[in-house]
């Protein structure tokens, strides 16, 4: 395991300290917690947004705390959802009186821990609502399963929902917008390499020199299957086909997120983005906005995910709104 760390038990704590040192103009830390919140929290008269989950997805979620996106991000251990207590501390710290919306990625652990935190906060009279992001089309969305995972599309949900909250909409309206964004977002990922959870010290899965893993989540779990490694264009086609089949996009407008999983150079993301645009154009789908970079990572994993967000006039407005956070800035 080659990592620039001081010890596997210290990574989250030291990372959070390093983040605050890097971005003091954006974020501060809630005392005795792994919660990062907006410098100006609690913001009065604004619905507050909290997201979070296991660490190892940086810049998610702390990097999106700031104007026009999140009010708080709760960090668990690497790939482990934070405890209810931590989430509860976050809720209390950001609540500006208009209620708090929890943006949860659909993982059993995240859902349960955030739910328990919401129950705790509600007992104190804080209005809390929840939405669960489940953008990953790699798996069937059946009632017999836990449903789809939340992956990189979550960042688009943060952006849209953050804009709605920043405009001053009330809790249920913000929740409605979040649900619409979730409903309109689909993603799928692949990887060339596993990642190594620091405390585990071993690659999260085995993979051959000529293989790639398709349809995998963001916690180093193996994907739905392995394939022989293919060209960037073929990979893009595999992912995008599955996404597009799950939506009705003909003559629609979309936002595109080409996301790196941590170890993939920007060069490769741009090469993928080129083919994404070619395919969408080919199918009569118009790209309204493109985002390319490492937004939802799995430690040092080499791989990508592609997300599409179907837009209407309302969502376009929110997408265009200002955002100013450590990892997402737009004027």
């Amino acid at each position: 395991m080659k990592k620039i760390i001081n010890g596997s038990d210290k990574v989250v704590e030291e990372m959070l300290q390093g983040m605050v040192k890097a971005h003091p103009e954006f974020i501060k830390r809630v005392e005795n917690s792994n919660v990062l919140i907006r410098k100006d929290s609690p913001v009065k008269g604004k619905v507050a947004l909290i997201s979070g989950g296991g660490s190892g997805h940086e810049p998610s979620h702390g990097g999106f705390v700031g104007l026009g996106m999140l009010d708080g991000a709760v960090a668990g251990e690497v790939f482990t959802s934070p405890t209810p207590e931590e989430v509860y501390k976050g809720i209390k710290a950001v609540n500006g009186g208009k209620g708090v919306l929890l943006i949860i990625k659909n993982y059993t652990g995240d859902v349960m821990n955030f739910e328990m935190a919401a129950e705790m906060a509600e007992m104190e009279g804080i209005k809390v609502e929840k939405v669960v992001v489940n953008d990953d089309v790699a798996m069937e969305d059946s009632t017999y399963t836990v449903g789809r995972r939340g992956i990189a599309g979550t960042v688009l949900v943060h952006k849209i929902t953050g804009a709605a909250a920043e405009r001053g909409l009330d809790l249920l309206e913000v929740k409605r917008v979040a649900e619409k964004a979730i409903e309109n977002t689909r993603s799928m990922g692949m990887s060339l390499t596993p990642c190594v959870v620091p405390a585990a010290g071993k690659p999260s899965f085995e993979i051959g020199e000529d293989e790639m893993e398709i349809g995998l989540g963001i916690h180093g779990e193996p994907g739905t299957h392995k394939e022989k490694i293919k060209t960037a264009n073929k990979i893009t086609t595999i992912l995008l086909d599955k996404i597009i089949k799950d939506m009705k996009l003909k003559n629609k407008e979309v936002a595109v997120l080409v996301n790196g999983l941590g170890g993939t150079p920007l060069m490769e993301l741009y090469i993928v983005n080129r083919e994404v645009h070619r395919i969408l154009e080919d199918q009569g789908i118009k790209v309204y906005k493109t985002i390319v970079g490492n937004y939802m990572t799995s430690l040092e994993m080499a791989g990508i995910s592609i997300s599409l967000l179907e837009l209407d006039e309302e969502l376009k407005g929110f997408l265009d709104d200002r955002a100013y956070t450590p990892a997402f800035r737009q004027i």
Partner: protein
């Protein structure tokens, strides 16, 4: 079944066994999950270990509640709230009690499973901890009904739990992270079922000593 000093011994033994199994559980989770089950569980039970003194002299309900809250507030992940809820539900059955009997044991176990099912929206056959816990519970209940003592009953429970662990190898996961693997989860044993087996075994070991 016994007094609270027995319970404290059991809790201590659970912690020891879980901490010793940290690598095994993590390795199992690496194969079909996200490589943290052992880390998560060891973290929770280390924290419980630190509270052993403070639990001394407390009643069954109080001790189990401390175990539960410690798991909930330190573990995170899926296993934290699930085991936490299980222990919390068990605690409600024996609130205020310094001594418990066989019926209490059965009821505690039953409540714990109900709590986990509710929290996890899961059931037997989903390839989770429930596939160790439910057969263990059934074996225990049957043994008691057959008039066996607690040691015998827990021995049977332990055996059934182990069978349950083996059984998880033969099924596709429907809940938890392993469910994302689909067919690829076949052939691998569930980490949570394994930790459940270890927890039950920890009880048997202490009953054996006493």
């Amino acid at each position: 079944m016994g007094d609270t000093s027995l319970l404290l011994e059991i809790v201590k033994n659970m912690s020891k066994n879980i901490i010793e199994s940290k690598e095994l559980l993590t390795e199992l989770d690496r194969v079909i999950g996200d490589s943290d089950h052992g880390i998560n569980m060891a973290k929770g039970f280390s924290a419980i270990n630190d509270k052993l003194e403070e639990m001394e002299g407390k009643d069954w309900g109080c001790i189990l509640k401390t175990v539960a809250m410690t798991l909930i507030s330190t573990v995170g992940g899926a296993s934290g709230p699930l085991y936490g809820t299980g222990f919390l539900r068990a605690a409600t059955v024996v609130e205020g009690k310094k001594e418990i009997d066989k019926d209490d044991v059965v009821n505690m176990f039953d409540e714990a499973i109900k709590g986990i099912k509710m929290r996890g929206k899961s059931n037997r056959g989903d390839k989770t901890m429930l596939d160790a816990l439910i057969p263990a519970y059934e074996a225990l209940k049957l043994a008691y009904e057959e008039g066996q003592n607690s040691l015998k009953a827990f021995k049977r429970a332990e055996e059934s739990a182990l069978e349950g662990v083996e059984y998880t190898k033969t099924i596709i996961a429907k809940k938890g992270r392993a469910s994302y693997l689909g067919e690829r989860s076949l052939g691998h044993q569930d980490p949570g079922a394994t930790s459940s087996y270890i927890i039950i075994k920890s009880i048997t070991e202490i009953l054996e000593k006493n």
